[in-house]
């Protein structure tokens, strides 16, 4: 067990090093002078020289990378070019709304998608199954921001049930918090629900036809324990994998959803940073998001061994 965790930690470190190399290299691989890229189109020669000196871009590349990596490992992500404030501080300030949205979406999606998938597998071939699967294809095809505007036009503009946009912190007002996140969660959740429902159905179908499930039926066990205990548990490995891989999708979706609903989270920080070419922020956000993604998948890999004792690395 300990050996497994250590080995997985090792490969996680390698992946994160590659990510760091990539984030660092991107600026230098891009055509043109990195200082000029950061300075933007209307910068003077002095601006460019100032940025080059400030970011140490006049040093050898290897030295730059080592210095940069050392800063990152001590939690220093550099300073924003636009506001000159520490990137780590800016990211910490914007963390709450993004984390809240990602969490509500994750909970909502799993709670809706897993039962839908089980239902579709249990009644495979029926109209219920076809309905769930049609929804899954549709959910996978309608882009997040398109569905978000359908919801806004319906619930905010026409019915006036929910606020058009904005975010209320749960520390201020729990009711307002839930209201402000209702539409974003639904919009962001649709793709995720489609993804998880589909894999749940496929994984359950694979298990349901096995002999021991027939044995369970034959010995007169009720349907619910068969589906939930005997079938869902072995089927949960691919489901959990998909939830983990889907986090990448979720992160991309958070950026877009926050932009649509004017939620002041990491996504908005990113979009503002792109428009201002505030490169240290973009680098920091990519590192944080990728780190979260890799960590979640590391945890999932370890969780596997509890779900399925046959898995040994």
């Amino acid at each position: 067990m300990l050996g497994l965790i250590l080995r997985r930690l090792g490969s996680t470190a390698i992946v994160m090093t590659v990510v760091a190399l990539f984030v660092f290299g991107m600026l230098h691989l891009a055509p043109g002078d990195p200082a000029a890229i950061i300075a933007g189109d209307i910068a003077t020669q002095e601006d460019i020289a100032r940025i080059r000196a400030k970011l140490g871009l006049d040093r050898p590349l290897v030295e730059q990378f080592v210095v940069w990596l050392g800063h990152i490992l001590t939690g220093d992500l550099g300073r924003s070019i636009f506001s000159d404030r520490p990137v780590a501080e800016l990211i910490a300030q914007r963390m709450e709304p993004s984390l809240a949205l990602a969490t509500t979406t994750m909970i909502f999606s799993v709670l809706v998608a897993v039962p839908l998938g089980i239902l579709a597998a249990w009644r495979a071939g029926s109209w219920v199954d076809r309905l769930v699967m049609s929804f899954a294809v549709l959910g996978f095809s309608v882009p997040v921001f398109v569905f978000a505007y359908v919801l806004i036009l319906l619930f905010a503009v026409n019915l006036k049930w929910l606020p058009v946009m904005g975010y209320v912190s749960f520390r201020e007002d729990v009711g307002g918090f839930l209201k402000s996140l209702a539409m974003p969660t639904l919009a962001l959740g649709v793709t995720y629900v489609a993804l998880i429902a589909r894999i749940t159905r496929a994984a359950m179908l694979e298990v349901i036809h096995q002999d021991y499930i027939r044995t369970a039926h034959a010995k007169g066990l009720a349907l619910a324990p068969i589906l939930l205990r005997h079938a869902l548990k072995p089927a949960s490995v691919p489901i959990v994998t998909t939830i983990g891989i889907g986090v990448a999708l979720l992160i991309g979706g958070v950026v877009v959803t926050e932009s649509v609903f004017a939620i002041p989270g990491l996504g908005r920080l990113t979009v503002d940073a792109i428009l201002r070419r505030d490169y240290p922020i973009i680098q920091g956000v990519i590192l944080i998001f990728s780190g979260v993604y890799v960590l979640i998948n590391l945890v999932i890999d370890i969780v596997y061994t509890f779900l399925d004792p046959r898995i040994r690395y």
Partner: protein
Amino acid sequence: MAAASPLESTSRPTTGGFRLFARRYPTVVAGVAILLVMVAIAVFAPWIAPEDPARINPRLRLRPPSAAHWFGTDHLGRDVFSRTLHGARVSLFVGFTVALTSTLIGLAIGLVSGFLRRIDAVVMRIMDGLMAIPAILLAIAMISLSRSSIRTVIVAITIPAIPPLVVQATYVCASAIIIEAILSFLGAGTPPDIPSWGNMMAEGRTYVLVGWWLLVFPGLFLSLVVLAVNLLGDGLRETLDPRLRRSARNL
């Protein structure tokens, strides 16, 4: 990739064969039909569109759909119907190009690292690292480094699409179309002088309270195209994968 030939072999050129195929795989037929219409729209947009998509008409700003302007007009008085038709060009071009190039590059990398074991380990670590970065963020970061043009957008979407190596081309195509739209919607994609569904919705979002048609029509076309590609992809997988076919018969 060998998508077309088995399709043809199951649907014989006779109408009876086609009817049988259509009955067994209605979704594939629907997907292909929608795609064909969209490709036709994209190719012939300059001739079908009633107006020049860039023509500004200040006296006709934000008019709802009418007989003269089927999809209404935008904040500059441009014809939304003509712009929506032209928007098909960017989406389909990006989708097909990214699917093709990422498949070819993925194939080349797979072949080379399959033969040269020493390179394999390094290449796979690089791919793992690339996969750890969410595709949209990676694309955004790459675009922020250079001027936004269709070519930059295509490169920025293609690179994150390479690492999975074995993914159905239709899936890559669908997600490329979505990512292009998202990038354009965020203001980091197709330049504003070329109408794309994403940047039309970006311009329309300011008028969400007064001009629903600015968001609904481009959004509808975008969703339809992605849906068509996904239907085609699902259908192809079902027809090509004998394992799936058998399990479907069992049910």
